[in-house]
Amino acid sequence: MIALVDVNNFYVSCQRVFEPKLEGKPVVVLSNNDGCCIARSAEVKALGVRMGQPWHQMQDLAKQHSIIAYSSNFALYADMSNRVMTILSRYSPHQEVYSIDECFLGLDGLQGDLTELGWDIRKTVLQGTGLPVCVGIAPTKTLAKFCNHLAKKRPQFAGVCEWSKLDAEIQLRVMQEIEVGEVWGVGRRLSASLNKEGIYSVADLQQADSETIRSRYSVVLERTVRELQGQPCIDLEDIAPDKQQIMCSRSFGRNVTTEQELAEAISTYAARAAEKLRRQKSAAGALAVFICTSPFREKDPQYSKHVVVPLSQPSDDTLLLTRAALWVLKRIYRPGYAYVKAGVMLLDLQPNTAIQGHLFLQSADPLKRASLNNTMDRINQHWGRGTLRLASAGADHRWKMRQGHLSPCWTTRWEDVPKVR
């Protein structure tokens, strides 16, 4: 048996833990640059606000209903996520953290009633973190996801839904009632195509012929069908696989036109990406840089360029990777455009133990360089991101994203610890 536990309206719930006055009020969390809604409280959903709706489009609604908006505070969410995952790890030796707010737990071999275990999970996480979770329990990951959906959307389950406790008749009925697009791994595009084949509900997909599905769609969707039939096909991954590519990109808070400012941004992103690279003990064999103007401003001249360069030797060195990224930027930068976004991507990742010297090696002593990077990581970990950085990353970062509604980092900064009277 597998449980899927996930936090209800995770980002909004995190904000509420530290500001009890938000309870019962409509709250949204906005994406980078305060662009659009990426989390909505139940009250906001009831007002018909869609996921991804641009914040500037809903100013009137916000005023009318006193909607409270927050800039996303990922320091807070990551820390709260960590707390939730730590509590959940007590319930099973097999935990797959699937995203910031959800994880699978392998429940095979556990004694006792699993629905009661689900209630215990809910109570313990709520008590320990203040965050509400829902639990879906089923023989397969896909069904556990489906049960979690039921647990969340249907009040009669009170937050916990165990597949095998439902009568066959009810199992069929809920599958008929829910659209196929809700199934894990079936996106909007795929469900549009399934609809054309006459597959509308979860039940339609579950009863589809798996052979036909495989030949018409993919092995992946065939596995989904089998999983809906109760046959486990997707294993738990206890250890998250290392990333195959590392991306660091941001939209700017305002238009950027000068090469100088773009260079600061690219340098900052390259350093950040290199840091992530070293954390997973990888080295990059290639690097990509992109810059682009806003496709939404149709009247402005448009330019976007994405260039990949191979490195003569895989590297995890901030200095080398930054130099390579700035070299690319110099070649793709064109004056006279209003840039809104830039990014650095590290590709062809491999274990950093595999780094080999070669005949034309010209970099500084690799051991010294490794120790420099290591020292830089430790300083930045201790004193905060960007404390020690290359001069090319610049100082005042006026291009940085807008975060006009940022809440304090309640759990990760001493100055921000909540006050009580």
Partner: protein, 84 residues
């Protein structure tokens, strides 16, 4: 400045260690949520009777009726003071 804090025990400006995972017992000092704000009180819990007591007697105890949701945020387990 900090008037409802149990005054004999916790000095103003102290850094509190608050355990969320612990169930609040009678006579614990708790951080509770009241009217959308945090408040620091001593918990009175006898049978079905629940009340939040400010150690400063100028403030009357807040008696909680049955069914009234008592949001206890956490139990104070220790506090830290900087030397004067």
């Amino acid at each position: 400045m900090v008037s409802t804090i149990p005054e004999r025990s916790i000095p103003p400006g102290a850094m509190l260690i608050v355990d969320r995972g612990r169930e609040a017992k009678h006579d614990d000092i708790v951080v509770a949520m009241l009217d959308g704000d945090y408040t620091l009180k001593r918990l009175y819990r006898r049978g079905t009777q629940l009340a939040l007591i400010a150690e400063n007697r100028a403030y009357p105890p807040i008696v909680l009726n049955e069914g009234q949701e008592l949001g206890i945020w956490g139990v104070v387990t220790a506090w830290i003071m900087e030397p004067q």
